[in-house]
């Protein structure tokens, strides 16, 4: 997990330096804030991964000599078939259209979106098709 952490930390450290140089040189607010945000975007996940990488056992994908048996068993849950992404996408599109054309599509959109969010939560709990 170390290399994964380093990728994000590189981003964080780079933008820490770049942001610092930019702020001291230009005193321009908008750019400095955006660079600060990017610094955090790198450092927060990066330090989380680094902290975990020191505590977790070596995973098979980090072991150059690993065999397939090392990774045998359940890989994860991959819901194979679900109507809810489509419904949520449709609902979001209707809500977006409501911002342009007026409130009549908002009702349809919100109904679809909320149904989808509820549906997806239930689907996750009972386990959908894999």
């Amino acid at each position: 997990m170390k290399n994964e952490a380093y990728v994000f930390l590189f981003v964080g450290i780079f933008f820490g330096l770049a942001g610092l140089v930019y702020w001291l040189w230009s005193h321009e607010d908008a750019g400095s804030v955006m660079l600060l945000g990017t610094f955090l975007l790198g450092c927060v996940p990066g330090s989380y991964y680094l902290w975990w990488s020191r505590r977790m056992p070596k995973r098979p994908e980090d072991n150059p000599d690993a065999t397939l048996e090392d990774g045998a068993g359940v890989v994860g849950a991959f819901p194979g078939s679900s109507i809810w992404p489509f419904v949520l996408g449709l609902g979001a599109t209707f809500v977006a259209a409501a911002l342009v054309f007026g409130a009549w599509t908002l009702g349809v959109g919100l109904f679809l979106a909320v149904s989808a969010l509820v549906g997806v939560v239930y689907e996750s709990r009972r386990g959908g098709l894999v």
Partner: protein, 590 residues
């Protein structure tokens, strides 16, 4: 992150054979969360937007072929270049790369059964489709589609200067597609970090996968800024906010600042996937490993980091940005890009280069991107930018770069089409597509560099005969027609490959990376068996054991290979896969 404890559904407990009871037909397609189906959806949708945007480009070039042209009204012309740019950038190049090709190929390259969040992946596609359709709906409104350029500068984009539903549809469409991209970015990073097969360490991943990881991170950096800026714009237009308007205490140039903080990483989000494709393809068709792999990884991450620090080079002429900081950062991008170029050349060096269509497109990419890159260095100099900003010089620069990326996309299409469909595309038609596209690109855009130097501004609907722009414009328009023909030939190629298929087999290119270990197209959950992963080229190692490079410092002897194979005997002359019934399988059910 105690992974095992959190897995809620065990495959061993799942009902089987589950997909025989699943939906079929249209319902199966609409409910699919399979990354391969979603990848194909994205690719087909993106190519349709490409064809629509290409048609708009033909209209633009038809208008500009003559001075005092009245082919299109001013208003229609302004819509054309706005929607051409918007469709190409927001709805084609990005989505085909991170939604289409990456979705399909990344899980295969790392030995994963799917993306980390399949339903989120599907949602990304539906949001993209919905947003794209909403944007096109602008053409059906009274005031017609958005016409403020793909960059929508404030205050031009406010409700006084550009009223109407078309611009509003553009804004909300991009909010939807923005979220779509952000979700894909999350999926890419998570998948690459957590779903690699045993032995697939970070530094054994194909460069395409590395580039998609970095692209995913860039998406997370850039798109939220754009989405926020769009929300601000909508508030200015409809809620009486004055964020980008002077009256009310706003700052118009803030729009440019926010937009380009997104806009510059965005063009690298567009570019990095195709850099990755070109890297993998050149190695295969040179029959050598990638030269300077670690340098490539370092260069990709450096390009991404630098690209987020250069945004105000699009604002040199505003007079309010720190010129030396942004020009230095922009120049510095040439260094990692140069590393990549030399590594691509190093991969071919003393290799055995075969000019199949994917490789031809890679070489076209190299030649064209070089021109675009050098012109980019020129533009990175503020004094030169003062003279050329918002002229056809810039148009030529970014089209050189973008057409190079399109050639990279075609390299990817030709390379992976057999894997995705089980059929080969026709080589003769492919070569014709390449040559016409390469020649067409140069005939269209090289004259535009000269037009910019002559002083022709961009986004003008017409020019006078006495301006002296006519000849160069006419040559450019001929070039556009050549590109049109090359794309038409490609479409014919695809159609022919369906009506009269040539079966592809698992590995028609004798390629090296993991996606070529499985069938064409891959089965449900991708792999029935996986070769041992001991280097960056697991399939090559299996097919060419005498030419493998084991990157692990400890080079195992035969006896250790046998032991590492566990219950499955690994013989020198027949290094076999683990069987699907064994404990070594990653997919217990079928």
């Amino acid at each position: 992150m105690t992974v095992l404890a959190e897995r809620p559904v065990s495959f061993a407990e799942a009902p089987e054979p589950h997909h025989e009871h699943g939906p079929s037909g249209f319902l199966k397609w609409v409910t699919s969360t399979d990354h391969k189906v979603i990848g194909k959806n994205y690719t087909v949708t993106a190519v349709i937007f490409f064809l629509l945007a290409g048609a708009m480009a033909m209209l633009i070039r038809a208008q500009l072929a003559n001075p005092d042209s009245t082919l299109l009204s001013q208003h229609t012309y302004n819509e054309m270049f706005t929607m051409h740019g918007s469709l190409m950038i927001y709805l084609f190049v990005g989505p085909v790369a991170f939604g289409g090709l990456a979705n399909y190929i990344v899980p295969l390259q790392i030995g994963a059964p799917d993306m980390a969040f399949p339903r989120l992946n599907a949602l990304s596609y539906w949001l993209y489709l919905g947003g794209g359709l909403l944007m096109m709906t602008g053409f059906l409104t009274t005031g017609s589609a958005a016409d403020f350029g793909w960059v929508a500068y404030a205050p031009l984009s406010n409700s006084i200067n550009t009223p109407g539903a078309g611009p509003d549809l553009w804004i909300v469409a991009l909010i939807l597609t923005g979220f779509s991209a952000i979700f894909t970015g999350v999926n890419l990073v998570s998948t690459i970090y957590y779903l690699r097969a045993p032995g697939m360490t970070m530094f054994r991943m194909p460069i395409f996968t590395w580039n998609m990881l970095v692209t995913g991170i860039l998406i997370l950096i850039a798109f939220p800024v754009f989405t926020s800026a769009l929300v601000f714009l909508w508030c200015d237009r409809h809620l009486g906010a004055h964020i980008f308007e002077v009256q009310g205490g706003g700052v118009p140039v803030l729009w440019q600042d926010l937009f380009w903080f997104f806009g510059h990483p965005e063009v690298y989000i567009l570019a990095l996937p195709f850099f990755g494709i070109v890297t993998d393809v050149i190695a295969v068709f040179s029959r050598k490993p990638i030269f300077g792999y670690r340098g490539m990884v370092f260069a990709t991450i450096s390009i991404a980091a630098l690209s987020t620090s250069v945004w105000a080079h699009h604002m040199f002429t505003t007079g309010v940005v720190l010129l030396p900081f942004f020009s230095l950062m922009s120049y510095l991008i040439a260094v990692p890009t140069g590393i990549k170029f030399f590594n691509w050349i190093g991969t071919m060096w003393r290799g055995s280069v075969k000019f199949d269509t994917p490789m031809l497109f890679c070489i076209g990419f190299l030649g064209t991107f070089l021109v675009g890159g050098v012109s980019g260095i020129l533009l990175a100099s503020p004094p030169i930018d003062f003279a050329t900003h918002d002229t056809y010089f810039v148009v030529a620069h970014f089209h050189s770069v973008v057409m190079a990326l399109v050639m990279g996309a075609f390299a990817g299409f030709f390379y992976w089409y057999p894997k995705m469909t089980g059929r080969m595309l026709r080589e003769g038609l492919g070569k014709a597509t390449f040559w016409l596209m390469f020649i067409g690109t140069n005939v269209t855009f090289d004259p535009q560099y000269l037009l910019g130097l002559k002083g022709m501004p961009r986004r003008i609907a017409e020019y006078a005969a006495s301006d002296g722009y006519t000849t160069l414009n006419r040559i450019s328009s001929v070039g556009a027609a050549i590109i049109f023909i090359s794309v038409a030939i490609f479409v014919v190629n695809v159609v022919v490959s369906w009506w009269n298929p040539i079966p592809a087999g698992d590995n028609p290119w004798d390629a090296a990376t993991l996606e070529w270990a499985t069938t064409s197209p891959p089965p449900h959950h991708n792999f029935l068996k996986i070769p041992p992963i001991r280097s960056r080229r697991p399939v090559w190692d299996y097919n060419h054991p005498e030419d493998r490079i084991l990157d692990h410092a400890h080079k195992p002897r035969l006896g250790e290979l046998v032991a590492a194979g566990g219950g499955t005997a690994v013989l020198l002359d027949e290094i076999g896969f683990d069987g699907e019934d064994g404990a070594g399988s990653r997919e217990p059910d079928r």
